[in-house]
Every structure is written in structure tokens, then in C-alpha cells.
Amino acid sequence: MDENSLQEVQSRVFSEVLGFEELPFMAAASLGTNFASAFVDHELLNPLSARTVRRQRRLQRDIALGTAPGADGKDLRLAVLVQDRALMADASVAQVSSIAKGEVEVIFIGRQQPFWTRSKQRPLKMGSSISPADAGYSGTLGFFARSTTNGHVGIVSNNHVLANVNKYPLGTTIVQPADGDGGGSPTDDIGILSNFIPIQFGGFANAVDAAFAELGNSVVYDAINIYGNGNTPPAVGSLSPAGTAAVLPRLEVMKTGRTTGHTQGQVRAINVNNYVVNMGRQGLARFDGQVLFEADPNSGGRFSRPGDSGSLITDRTGIPVALLFAGSQSGGQGNLGITAGNPISTVLSQLQVSFV
């Protein structure tokens, strides 16, 4: 089937099998959220109907739809991704096949688990999710550092992750996993916000979006290993903080972040000035001297997404390059978006910290 037919089939499956309802596009837009589609769970709109949709709730949890190449390698087929083996022979899957007139590939993918980055990690690992307690969002733990002023060991991430853009006071409790990933105080406390570089607005040039949180005495951490993707995260490299990388366009880099996990990319541009970033409610902030990154041309995926802020970007040998803090949805290699980072030397000097 062609792409339009596939979309029609997916729409029918969403409504007839999975029990989602389609909102008029403008109604979805008026809710003020960027919906991936106009299909919403009607239980959310009408809580009284909860009992009647229990079975659909299970299907919604265990079945996902995608696109698979057709048998001839040209057309498309509906991909039905099933997490529960018992559903492989279920009438609902047969109904999906009927709607798609047999142009279906049913794939058992097993129970999917969230990235390790979003769960509790002890010892603490670079790349895991962090936030202030009760912040309602998630960011990334970049790396472990020691204050050069008092010798205390802590973690480095962004101002907008640890201090919510100048908002939280010093002494704020930091949790891992992040509040946005189910973490909470006091169970998941790891330290307190102890320094941040204020972000300037009104056209003033910023150098970094960076903050430091001192770790509690009893918190154990792994300052060496860089972890990859997998339910039991494999170490894919070691941090080499003593090394120096020549940061020039096409330098191959990697990072591990809360949202996209371990990804690889390359330097897109250096010495980027007048880099204008939407910091949320506070408005636009300008940054000078930044480094831009793009996805690895062979990866097929984005280098970063929201929630990866605070990630340490290194070269492929583990030499630190930059602290990830912003990005765009388009531009760069394959139009997969561009990621921005503060040069790591500037982060260290402004925060007055050194690698542990």
C-alpha cells in the first residue's frame, strides 16, 4: 500500500481496535501541546468510561504501530509491534490484519523497558536523569567534578537543569532519577545545588549554561565509565579528562543522555556566536563561542533531544569536548537537527571545578 493508504489504515486501527478517538486538528492544537497526532485516549477525556475500555487499555499498552517495507520492497506494510506474546494470536491482531487487508507484518518485540538513564543508578552514572526535587522535568547528569575553591565533589549539568534558569536557590535538593522520571525526595536525594552561572537576558552574551551540585557524603559514583544503551548498561568507553581534543568541524563525538541514551555525532560548527536560544518562560538568551553538533551520518537518528541537556559530549576516545544544553529539530546532517554545547574548558573555568 502507499503512504496515504497506510495512514488511513493506522487511523482505523487507532479508533476501531485501540479505542482512541480523533480530535479535530484545530481542537488538538488549541490544547497548547505539540501532539504527534490528533488521536487521543478518550478515557482521558471521559473518565466515567474507564471500565468499558479496560481491554483496550491493555491493547494500547502492548501494541504499537509502525511501517514495514512491502513484500516487493517498494510498497509499505503496516508493522504491528507486540509486547505480549499472548496477543500474537489474539482476535485484535486478526482484526488489525483484516483492516489492512493482510498487508501486515506482526512482530513480537518483547516487553519494552525505559532506558537505564531514567531509572535509579547507584553508583551514579554519567548520562542518568537528574533534576531538583519537585521540578517536574528531567535533565542529564553530565560528569563528576571537584570544586577548586573548597574541594567538594559534585556533579555538573546545566543551569536550566539544576536551577531551572536562575530560579532555584543554592541549597536546593537534587534527585536522581529526576522528578520527571519518578524520582523524589528524600529517597532519591543525591546532593544540593551549590553553584550556577546566571543566564543573562536582554541581548547580553552568555558563555555557558552550567551549574554544579555537591554530592552527599554517602553517595557513590562512577566518574570513569561512559555507558552505552541496554537494560544493563554496558561500558562503551572511559572518560579521558587529561586529554585535549582539537575541536574542529567533523570531529567525531559521542554522548550519553537521559532521553536518547548513547548516540554518536560529529562537530558541525565551531566558534558559533549570537546563538539565540529559547529558554522557556524567561525568553531568548544569546550565547557566544559555542560548538554545534550533528548526528552521525550513518546513525539514522538524532544526536540529542529535550531531556539530554547536561550531557557531557566527548570525542570517540573519551576526551571531553562540550556540555550539551540546546538544539533544534531541523538542520544539519540529514536534517536531523543540530545540538549545541558549551566548550568544556569554559564550563570548568566558569564553575571553578575540575574533573574528578
Binding site: 546545566n158 534558569v165 568541524p249 567533523r250 558541525r268 565551531i270 539565540v276 529559547n278 533544534s328 543540530i338
Partner: protein
């Protein structure tokens, strides 16, 4: 092909001239140095909000290629 760092340093002087002339335009979201399309030298890299913004920019500036990325907007991640 290896490109010496000093080639990029020379490009930064031209970048400064470019910024003085164009960076105040509201649809420009950043100006830096990248590789040119033949990967044998530096180029100016400009981030802009949308396609129409490209029309306001030259294809080259002081003999450096101008490579434009349409990014929509840059957001904190």
C-alpha cells in the same frame, strides 16, 4: 584531507565581519565556522529561522562559502 587549524582561525576574522553586517537580522539564530561543501576548507555556517531568511544572505562572503541551516528555533534541551 586534513585542514590546518590556522585556516579556521583566519576564517574567524571574516566571521566577525559577517556578524557585524548580518547578525542583527532577527531571523539569524547563530553564525559560526563549518566545513565547506567540498570539505577542503572552512565556510561560514549560519542558522536561520526559515527558508525565506536564506534569501537575505549571500552565497559567499569574502570568498568563504556561506552554508545555511534552517533550524526553526533553538531551544534549551
Amino acid at each position: 584531507m586534513s585542514i590546518e587549524a590556522r585556516a579556521f582561525e583566519a576564517a574567524m576574522a571574516i566571521q566577525k565581519e559577517f556578524e557585524d553586517r548580518f547578525a542583527a537580522m532577527p531571523d539569524i539564530l547563530g553564525v559560526g565556522i563549518c566545513l565547506n561543501t567540498t570539505s577542503d576548507g572552512p565556510a561560514l555556517n549560519v542558522q536561520v529561522t526559515d527558508e525565506p531568511a536564506k534569501a537575505h544572505l549571500p552565497l559567499t562572503f569574502r570568498e568563504l562559502e556561506v552554508i545555511v541551516d534552517v533550524v526553526g528555533e533553538n531551544r534549551r534541551f
